[in-house]
Symmetry: C2
Subunit: 231 residues, 2 copies
């Protein structure tokens, strides 16, 4: 049992180390020697846990995907209105992209995954699905327009976030990511909100992205934790 | 002179061949032997023109970027209203992504380019800039809202398209790309259009994405050329 615990710990440590190496060099340019060094284990230990570089990359993607799904589930399960939860979820995701090496490595590997023998589609499908469920809730709550095509909207918003974080990474190393997420929602909200929405609720929703950007910027500078979904 | 012409022809043929290889295998998994085979030239000829795999990948990106910029310039230089031109430009770009191997290879390499010693930011910056110029024209023409934050909107729309085509590639091999571009504009237009826009013009702009999707779908099935920007 203690041995099994140790093996699980070693496996997690290898994944964390590999994430650092993949994050820095990308899939193609990361060597097995580089993975051994980054994970701080012998070749024997590495191969005991992972059969190949691809198996290790897929484990990083899976770990990142699990933590992203857990993050999404927190917002889906919160008592917040659906649209609030959707907006907050993208900021929380932006934060993990900036701060968590396993997440940024997982996203990078997912983008590069056409190198792999098995295509990696699940993260995209799951994010579109979570976004769709929050939008459906927003319609039920009267925030989103009843005539909104939820499938189409979710299938745009989630990929749009993918593009926003990709370009933010290339142009600024994700320094401007909170700003870009705010701008994304500012442009999207008019196409989402119900025409019958009371002016006060409309104003509150319109103000939320700027508010969250401010909070995350301050939290980033003061190194406090992320805002909890229920906070 | 004939020799110089021949060298230019060989260089272009190498780039086309390399684009096929990079498109299929990605940067990391493409070998020099694979590049020689795809380009149909000897190792000597390959090295005469390109010093390394990275130099060849950058040439593919540059060739793709030049043709994308030329496509953008066609729409910028057309007499169409700015917003029409912006919508049409994204469909034309979607078409080249589906049909032109140098373009799809260039986009793939640009996404993978954090592997390279020099980061590839110019395509993102140029597309944001072109999008911004068309939106500014749309404000002058009264289609886009005067209070629109053009810099923010352009800095969202262009990355959003990047994400849309990435996810379309992963989930459907870009089969659903025209549909997704239509849905993107349907969701974006309410946040872009001027509140003072006459109902007829508003209806025409709102109908344009579905119209273009239909035209491109038909053109794709009948293998006719792309719609010209002035058509």
């Amino acid at each position: 049992m203690a041995q099994q615990q140790r093996a699980i710990g070693t496996r997690a440590a290898i994944i964390r180390g590999a994430a650092q190496a993949f994050r820095e060099h990308g899939y193609g340019s990361t060597t097995l020697a580089g993975l051994e060094a980054a994970a701080g284990v012998t070749k024997g230990a590495l191969y005991f846990h992972f059969a190949s570089k691809e198996a290790l990359a897929l484990a990083v993607i899976e770990t990142q995907h699990e933590s992203s799904i857990a993050l999404g589930a927190e917002y889906l399960g919160s008592t917040r209105p659906g649209l609030d939860a959707a907006i907050r979820m993208t900021f929380a995701m932006a934060k993990t992209l900036r701060d968590d090496p396993v997440v940024s490595a997982g996203i990078r590997l997912t983008l590069e995954a056409s190198n792999f023998s098995v295509p990696v589609a699940a993260p995209y499908i799951d994010w579109i699905d979570m976004c769709g469920r929050l939008l459906r809730r927003a319609i039920d709550e009267g925030d989103a327009a009843a005539e909104l095509n939820v499938e189409a909207a979710a299938h745009f918003i989630s990929p749009a976030f993918t593009g926003v974080q990709t370009v933010s990474e290339v142009l600024t190393g994700r320094d401007d990511l909170y700003q870009r997420v705010e701008e994304m929602w500012t442009l999207l909200l008019p196409g989402l909100l119900s025409a019958a929405l009371p002016a006060e609720r409309r104003a509150n929703l319109a103000a939320l992205p700027a508010l969250l950007r401010h909070d995350y910027d301050v939290a980033g500078r003061t190194r406090t934790g992320p805002a909890a979904p229920g906070a």
